[in-house]
Symmetry: C2
Subunit: 193 residues, 2 copies
Protein backbone atom coordinates (compact mmCIF):
# COMPACT_ATOMS: atom_id res chain seq x y z
CA UNK A 1 0.00 0.00 0.00
CA UNK A 2 2.84 2.41 0.85
CA UNK A 3 4.23 1.72 -2.60
CA UNK A 4 1.04 2.93 -4.26
CA UNK A 5 1.39 6.27 -2.53
CA UNK A 6 4.81 7.00 -3.97
CA UNK A 7 5.09 10.17 -6.00
CA UNK A 8 1.82 11.39 -4.59
CA UNK A 9 -0.14 8.75 -6.49
CA UNK A 10 -3.16 7.58 -4.60
CA UNK A 11 -5.14 4.41 -4.61
CA UNK A 12 -5.75 2.62 -7.91
CA UNK A 13 -4.36 4.93 -10.58
CA UNK A 14 -6.02 4.54 -14.00
CA UNK A 15 -2.68 3.69 -15.58
CA UNK A 16 0.75 2.76 -14.34
CA UNK A 17 2.32 5.99 -13.01
CA UNK A 18 5.79 5.00 -14.18
CA UNK A 19 4.63 5.38 -17.81
CA UNK A 20 4.11 9.05 -17.13
CA UNK A 21 7.35 9.57 -15.30
CA UNK A 22 9.43 7.67 -17.84
CA UNK A 23 8.49 9.84 -20.80
CA UNK A 24 11.34 11.66 -22.45
CA UNK A 25 10.04 15.18 -22.28
CA UNK A 26 13.25 16.85 -23.33
CA UNK A 27 13.72 15.06 -26.61
CA UNK A 28 10.15 15.34 -27.81
CA UNK A 29 8.16 18.37 -26.92
CA UNK A 30 7.44 21.14 -29.35
CA UNK A 31 6.54 23.92 -26.94
CA UNK A 32 8.66 26.33 -24.96
CA UNK A 33 7.90 27.14 -21.35
CA UNK A 34 8.64 30.33 -19.51
CA UNK A 35 9.16 29.78 -16.67
CA UNK A 36 10.40 26.24 -17.30
CA UNK A 37 7.98 23.54 -16.13
CA UNK A 38 7.67 19.86 -16.93
CA UNK A 39 5.65 16.76 -16.13
CA UNK A 40 7.87 16.06 -13.12
CA UNK A 41 7.65 19.68 -11.99
CA UNK A 42 4.48 21.36 -13.27
CA UNK A 43 4.82 24.30 -10.87
CA UNK A 44 5.16 24.96 -7.16
CA UNK A 45 2.79 22.82 -5.15
CA UNK A 46 1.51 21.05 -8.25
CA UNK A 47 1.76 17.37 -9.14
CA UNK A 48 0.99 15.63 -12.44
CA UNK A 49 -0.28 12.05 -12.14
CA UNK A 50 -2.82 9.56 -13.55
CA UNK A 51 -6.45 9.96 -12.51
CA UNK A 52 -7.10 7.92 -9.37
CA UNK A 53 -10.29 6.36 -8.13
CA UNK A 54 -10.44 8.63 -5.13
CA UNK A 55 -10.42 11.74 -7.32
CA UNK A 56 -14.21 11.60 -7.14
CA UNK A 57 -13.64 13.28 -3.76
CA UNK A 58 -10.96 15.63 -5.11
CA UNK A 59 -13.12 17.81 -7.32
CA UNK A 60 -12.62 15.91 -10.58
CA UNK A 61 -16.28 16.03 -11.61
CA UNK A 62 -16.55 19.72 -10.70
CA UNK A 63 -13.45 20.38 -12.82
CA UNK A 64 -15.00 18.60 -15.82
CA UNK A 65 -18.12 20.72 -15.42
CA UNK A 66 -15.99 23.74 -16.39
CA UNK A 67 -15.58 22.03 -19.77
CA UNK A 68 -19.10 20.82 -20.52
CA UNK A 69 -22.22 19.32 -19.05
CA UNK A 70 -21.46 16.56 -16.57
CA UNK A 71 -24.58 16.34 -14.41
CA UNK A 72 -24.91 14.64 -11.08
CA UNK A 73 -22.74 11.56 -10.88
CA UNK A 74 -22.99 9.39 -7.78
CA UNK A 75 -19.99 7.65 -6.32
CA UNK A 76 -21.40 4.35 -7.56
CA UNK A 77 -21.76 5.69 -11.10
CA UNK A 78 -18.25 7.12 -10.99
CA UNK A 79 -16.80 3.88 -9.66
CA UNK A 80 -18.59 1.82 -12.30
CA UNK A 81 -17.32 4.02 -15.13
CA UNK A 82 -13.82 4.15 -13.65
CA UNK A 83 -13.78 0.37 -13.40
CA UNK A 84 -14.94 -0.19 -16.95
CA UNK A 85 -12.27 2.21 -18.25
CA UNK A 86 -9.70 0.46 -16.08
CA UNK A 87 -10.79 -2.91 -17.48
CA UNK A 88 -9.96 -1.68 -20.99
CA UNK A 89 -6.25 -2.23 -20.61
CA UNK A 90 -3.93 0.44 -21.99
CA UNK A 91 -6.83 2.48 -23.35
CA UNK A 92 -7.65 5.43 -21.09
CA UNK A 93 -4.75 7.63 -20.07
CA UNK A 94 -6.53 10.31 -18.07
CA UNK A 95 -3.87 12.59 -16.65
CA UNK A 96 -4.50 15.21 -13.99
CA UNK A 97 -2.68 17.93 -12.09
CA UNK A 98 -3.26 18.13 -8.36
CA UNK A 99 -2.73 21.11 -6.11
CA UNK A 100 -0.98 19.30 -3.29
CA UNK A 101 -1.82 22.03 -0.79
CA UNK A 102 -5.56 21.31 -1.14
CA UNK A 103 -5.53 17.82 -2.68
CA UNK A 104 -7.85 19.10 -5.42
CA UNK A 105 -7.59 18.14 -9.07
CA UNK A 106 -7.15 21.42 -10.97
CA UNK A 107 -6.43 20.28 -14.52
CA UNK A 108 -7.10 17.20 -16.60
CA UNK A 109 -6.68 15.76 -20.07
CA UNK A 110 -7.40 12.41 -21.67
CA UNK A 111 -5.47 10.34 -24.17
CA UNK A 112 -7.58 7.48 -25.51
CA UNK A 113 -5.75 4.70 -27.32
CA UNK A 114 -7.93 3.10 -29.98
CA UNK A 115 -6.74 -0.32 -31.13
CA UNK A 116 -6.56 -1.09 -34.83
CA UNK A 117 -5.82 -3.98 -37.16
CA UNK A 118 -4.56 -1.60 -39.87
CA UNK A 119 -0.93 -0.49 -39.91
CA UNK A 120 0.17 -3.86 -38.54
CA UNK A 121 -2.18 -3.92 -35.57
CA UNK A 122 -1.27 -0.37 -34.62
CA UNK A 123 -3.26 2.07 -32.54
CA UNK A 124 -4.55 5.60 -32.85
CA UNK A 125 -4.43 8.23 -30.16
CA UNK A 126 -7.17 10.75 -29.43
CA UNK A 127 -6.76 13.79 -27.21
CA UNK A 128 -9.99 14.56 -25.39
CA UNK A 129 -11.46 16.68 -22.64
CA UNK A 130 -8.60 19.05 -21.78
CA UNK A 131 -9.59 21.39 -18.96
CA UNK A 132 -7.78 23.70 -16.55
CA UNK A 133 -9.53 25.19 -13.54
CA UNK A 134 -10.29 28.91 -14.03
CA UNK A 135 -8.21 29.85 -11.02
CA UNK A 136 -5.11 28.15 -12.44
CA UNK A 137 -5.15 29.61 -15.95
CA UNK A 138 -2.05 31.37 -17.26
CA UNK A 139 0.33 28.86 -15.71
CA UNK A 140 0.96 26.91 -18.95
CA UNK A 141 -0.84 23.86 -17.55
CA UNK A 142 -3.03 23.18 -20.58
CA UNK A 143 0.04 23.34 -22.76
CA UNK A 144 1.90 21.01 -20.44
CA UNK A 145 -0.89 18.43 -20.42
CA UNK A 146 -1.09 18.55 -24.21
CA UNK A 147 2.64 18.04 -24.61
CA UNK A 148 2.62 15.16 -22.15
CA UNK A 149 -0.37 13.37 -23.71
CA UNK A 150 1.07 13.84 -27.19
CA UNK A 151 4.44 12.35 -26.19
CA UNK A 152 2.56 9.60 -24.37
CA UNK A 153 0.57 8.73 -27.50
CA UNK A 154 3.77 7.95 -29.37
CA UNK A 155 5.27 6.12 -26.42
CA UNK A 156 2.27 3.78 -26.08
CA UNK A 157 2.43 2.86 -29.78
CA UNK A 158 0.04 5.14 -31.66
CA UNK A 159 0.85 5.71 -35.33
CA UNK A 160 -1.03 8.99 -35.17
CA UNK A 161 -2.83 11.15 -32.66
CA UNK A 162 -5.66 13.56 -33.35
CA UNK A 163 -8.00 16.02 -31.70
CA UNK A 164 -10.86 18.30 -32.58
CA UNK A 165 -10.82 22.00 -31.81
CA UNK A 166 -12.45 25.31 -32.59
CA UNK A 167 -11.00 27.56 -35.30
CA UNK A 168 -9.54 29.91 -32.75
CA UNK A 169 -7.50 27.14 -31.14
CA UNK A 170 -5.79 25.95 -34.33
CA UNK A 171 -2.72 28.16 -33.71
CA UNK A 172 -2.54 26.89 -30.11
CA UNK A 173 -2.56 23.23 -31.11
CA UNK A 174 -0.17 23.82 -34.00
CA UNK A 175 2.65 24.35 -31.53
CA UNK A 176 2.32 20.70 -30.52
CA UNK A 177 2.85 19.46 -34.06
CA UNK A 178 -0.87 19.06 -34.86
CA UNK A 179 -1.95 20.06 -38.35
CA UNK A 180 -5.28 20.53 -40.04
CA UNK A 181 -5.27 18.08 -42.92
CA UNK A 182 -6.05 19.08 -46.48
CA UNK A 183 -9.56 18.18 -47.65
CA UNK A 184 -10.16 16.25 -44.44
CA UNK A 185 -13.43 16.91 -42.63
CA UNK A 186 -14.79 16.08 -39.23
CA UNK A 187 -18.47 15.19 -39.23
CA UNK A 188 -20.72 14.59 -36.28
CA UNK A 189 -24.22 13.41 -35.46
CA UNK A 190 -25.56 14.40 -32.07
CA UNK A 191 -28.35 12.61 -30.29
CA UNK A 192 -29.07 14.69 -27.21
CA UNK A 193 -27.92 18.24 -27.65
CA UNK B 1 -21.19 -24.61 -29.66
CA UNK B 2 -24.09 -25.13 -32.03
CA UNK B 3 -25.67 -22.08 -30.48
CA UNK B 4 -22.71 -19.93 -31.45
CA UNK B 5 -23.22 -20.88 -35.09
CA UNK B 6 -26.75 -19.56 -35.23
CA UNK B 7 -27.39 -16.88 -37.81
CA UNK B 8 -24.14 -17.76 -39.55
CA UNK B 9 -22.11 -16.34 -36.68
CA UNK B 10 -18.92 -18.25 -36.19
CA UNK B 11 -16.70 -18.83 -33.21
CA UNK B 12 -16.16 -15.99 -30.77
CA UNK B 13 -17.88 -12.96 -32.29
CA UNK B 14 -16.38 -9.63 -31.20
CA UNK B 15 -19.73 -8.52 -29.82
CA UNK B 16 -23.01 -10.18 -29.01
CA UNK B 17 -24.75 -10.86 -32.37
CA UNK B 18 -28.20 -10.18 -30.93
CA UNK B 19 -27.25 -6.48 -30.51
CA UNK B 20 -26.96 -6.28 -34.27
CA UNK B 21 -30.14 -8.16 -35.00
CA UNK B 22 -32.20 -6.27 -32.44
CA UNK B 23 -31.59 -2.84 -33.94
CA UNK B 24 -34.64 -1.01 -35.14
CA UNK B 25 -33.58 -0.30 -38.67
CA UNK B 26 -36.96 0.87 -39.87
CA UNK B 27 -37.49 3.61 -37.34
CA UNK B 28 -34.01 5.10 -37.52
CA UNK B 29 -32.20 5.08 -40.77
CA UNK B 30 -31.81 8.11 -42.95
CA UNK B 31 -30.99 6.49 -46.26
CA UNK B 32 -33.16 4.99 -48.94
CA UNK B 33 -32.29 1.71 -50.61
CA UNK B 34 -33.15 0.64 -54.10
CA UNK B 35 -33.46 -2.31 -54.22
CA UNK B 36 -34.47 -2.56 -50.55
CA UNK B 37 -31.80 -4.17 -48.35
CA UNK B 38 -31.28 -4.21 -44.59
CA UNK B 39 -28.99 -5.58 -41.89
CA UNK B 40 -31.00 -8.81 -41.81
CA UNK B 41 -30.99 -9.07 -45.59
CA UNK B 42 -28.03 -7.21 -47.10
CA UNK B 43 -28.44 -8.90 -50.49
CA UNK B 44 -28.62 -12.36 -51.96
CA UNK B 45 -25.99 -14.64 -50.49
CA UNK B 46 -24.76 -11.94 -48.14
CA UNK B 47 -24.78 -11.94 -44.35
CA UNK B 48 -24.08 -9.10 -41.92
CA UNK B 49 -22.53 -10.13 -38.61
CA UNK B 50 -19.92 -9.15 -36.01
CA UNK B 51 -16.27 -9.80 -36.82
CA UNK B 52 -15.27 -13.26 -35.62
CA UNK B 53 -11.92 -14.61 -34.58
CA UNK B 54 -11.79 -16.97 -37.50
CA UNK B 55 -12.14 -14.13 -40.01
CA UNK B 56 -8.36 -14.07 -40.13
CA UNK B 57 -8.85 -17.01 -42.53
CA UNK B 58 -11.76 -15.37 -44.34
CA UNK B 59 -9.89 -12.54 -46.05
CA UNK B 60 -10.44 -9.86 -43.41
CA UNK B 61 -6.86 -8.58 -43.49
CA UNK B 62 -6.81 -8.59 -47.30
CA UNK B 63 -10.05 -6.60 -47.28
CA UNK B 64 -8.55 -3.98 -44.94
CA UNK B 65 -5.57 -3.68 -47.26
CA UNK B 66 -7.96 -2.20 -49.85
CA UNK B 67 -8.43 0.65 -47.37
CA UNK B 68 -4.89 1.38 -46.23
CA UNK B 69 -1.58 -0.19 -45.29
CA UNK B 70 -2.02 -3.27 -43.14
CA UNK B 71 1.24 -5.20 -43.61
CA UNK B 72 1.87 -8.82 -42.75
CA UNK B 73 -0.08 -9.87 -39.70
CA UNK B 74 0.51 -13.36 -38.33
CA UNK B 75 -2.29 -15.39 -36.80
CA UNK B 76 -0.70 -14.83 -33.40
CA UNK B 77 -0.65 -11.06 -33.90
CA UNK B 78 -4.24 -11.08 -35.10
CA UNK B 79 -5.38 -13.22 -32.18
CA UNK B 80 -3.58 -11.00 -29.68
CA UNK B 81 -5.17 -7.85 -31.08
CA UNK B 82 -8.58 -9.49 -31.35
CA UNK B 83 -8.33 -10.62 -27.73
CA UNK B 84 -7.34 -7.20 -26.44
CA UNK B 85 -10.25 -5.59 -28.31
CA UNK B 86 -12.54 -8.27 -26.96
CA UNK B 87 -11.29 -7.63 -23.42
CA UNK B 88 -12.41 -3.99 -23.75
CA UNK B 89 -16.05 -4.76 -23.10
CA UNK B 90 -18.62 -2.95 -25.24
CA UNK B 91 -15.95 -0.97 -27.06
CA UNK B 92 -15.22 -2.43 -30.50
CA UNK B 93 -18.21 -3.12 -32.71
CA UNK B 94 -16.51 -4.32 -35.88
CA UNK B 95 -19.25 -5.37 -38.27
CA UNK B 96 -18.67 -7.30 -41.47
CA UNK B 97 -20.57 -8.63 -44.46
CA UNK B 98 -19.79 -12.17 -45.55
CA UNK B 99 -20.41 -13.70 -48.95
CA UNK B 100 -21.85 -16.98 -47.74
CA UNK B 101 -21.07 -18.73 -51.02
CA UNK B 102 -17.33 -18.30 -50.46
CA UNK B 103 -17.19 -17.60 -46.73
CA UNK B 104 -15.13 -14.49 -47.46
CA UNK B 105 -15.53 -11.18 -45.65
CA UNK B 106 -16.29 -8.61 -48.36
CA UNK B 107 -17.14 -5.48 -46.38
CA UNK B 108 -16.36 -4.11 -42.94
CA UNK B 109 -16.86 -1.12 -40.71
CA UNK B 110 -15.98 -0.28 -37.13
CA UNK B 111 -17.91 1.52 -34.43
CA UNK B 112 -15.68 2.32 -31.45
CA UNK B 113 -17.41 3.32 -28.25
CA UNK B 114 -15.29 5.67 -26.18
CA UNK B 115 -16.30 5.92 -22.54
CA UNK B 116 -16.61 9.31 -20.89
CA UNK B 117 -17.27 10.87 -17.51
CA UNK B 118 -18.85 13.94 -19.11
CA UNK B 119 -22.55 13.98 -19.99
CA UNK B 120 -23.34 11.82 -16.98
CA UNK B 121 -20.81 9.07 -17.74
CA UNK B 122 -21.92 8.91 -21.35
CA UNK B 123 -20.00 7.58 -24.32
CA UNK B 124 -18.98 8.80 -27.73
CA UNK B 125 -19.13 6.78 -30.92
CA UNK B 126 -16.55 6.84 -33.69
CA UNK B 127 -17.04 5.37 -37.12
CA UNK B 128 -13.78 3.99 -38.49
CA UNK B 129 -12.32 1.92 -41.28
CA UNK B 130 -15.28 1.43 -43.60
CA UNK B 131 -14.30 -0.69 -46.59
CA UNK B 132 -16.16 -2.61 -49.29
CA UNK B 133 -14.35 -5.08 -51.57
CA UNK B 134 -13.86 -3.69 -55.10
CA UNK B 135 -15.84 -6.53 -56.60
CA UNK B 136 -18.90 -5.76 -54.45
CA UNK B 137 -19.14 -2.00 -55.03
CA UNK B 138 -22.44 -0.55 -56.25
CA UNK B 139 -24.54 -2.81 -54.04
CA UNK B 140 -25.23 -0.16 -51.34
CA UNK B 141 -23.14 -2.10 -48.84
CA UNK B 142 -21.06 0.83 -47.60
CA UNK B 143 -24.27 2.77 -47.06
CA UNK B 144 -25.82 -0.16 -45.23
CA UNK B 145 -22.84 -0.58 -42.89
CA UNK B 146 -22.87 3.16 -42.15
CA UNK B 147 -26.56 3.15 -41.33
CA UNK B 148 -26.20 0.10 -39.11
CA UNK B 149 -23.18 1.42 -37.19
CA UNK B 150 -24.85 4.80 -36.74
CA UNK B 151 -28.04 3.26 -35.34
CA UNK B 152 -25.86 0.99 -33.21
CA UNK B 153 -24.00 3.97 -31.74
CA UNK B 154 -27.24 5.37 -30.37
CA UNK B 155 -28.42 1.98 -29.21
CA UNK B 156 -25.25 1.34 -27.18
CA UNK B 157 -25.56 4.68 -25.41
CA UNK B 158 -23.46 7.21 -27.31
CA UNK B 159 -24.52 10.84 -26.97
CA UNK B 160 -22.88 11.58 -30.31
CA UNK B 161 -21.07 9.76 -33.07
CA UNK B 162 -18.47 11.18 -35.41
CA UNK B 163 -16.23 10.32 -38.32
CA UNK B 164 -13.57 11.91 -40.48
CA UNK B 165 -13.83 12.00 -44.24
CA UNK B 166 -12.47 13.65 -47.37
CA UNK B 167 -14.23 16.71 -48.85
CA UNK B 168 -15.73 14.67 -51.64
CA UNK B 169 -17.47 12.32 -49.22
CA UNK B 170 -19.27 15.02 -47.22
CA UNK B 171 -22.46 14.70 -49.34
CA UNK B 172 -22.34 10.92 -48.94
CA UNK B 173 -22.12 11.04 -45.15
CA UNK B 174 -24.70 13.82 -44.91
CA UNK B 175 -27.40 11.34 -45.83
CA UNK B 176 -26.77 9.52 -42.54
CA UNK B 177 -27.40 12.65 -40.48
CA UNK B 178 -23.72 13.59 -40.11
CA UNK B 179 -22.89 17.28 -40.33
CA UNK B 180 -19.72 19.26 -40.58
CA UNK B 181 -19.72 21.50 -37.54
CA UNK B 182 -19.21 25.23 -37.72
CA UNK B 183 -15.71 26.43 -36.76
CA UNK B 184 -14.78 22.92 -35.69
CA UNK B 185 -11.48 21.54 -36.92
CA UNK B 186 -9.89 18.15 -37.00
CA UNK B 187 -6.15 18.19 -36.34
CA UNK B 188 -3.72 15.34 -36.56
CA UNK B 189 -0.11 14.54 -35.80
CA UNK B 190 1.37 11.56 -37.64
CA UNK B 191 4.39 9.62 -36.46
CA UNK B 192 5.13 7.13 -39.22
CA UNK B 193 3.69 8.27 -42.52
Amino acid sequence: MSDSHQNGVKEKPLYEPSILHDIDFEGNHCSTYNPEISHTNPGEGLLMRPLCREDYDNGYIQLLSQLTTVGDISREEFDARYRSMDDCLDSYYITVIEDTSTGQVIASGTLVKEQKFIHKCSARGRIEDIVVDDKYRGRQLGKLILDVLTILSKKVGCYKVSLECLDKLVPFYSQFGYKTEDKQNYMCRRYND
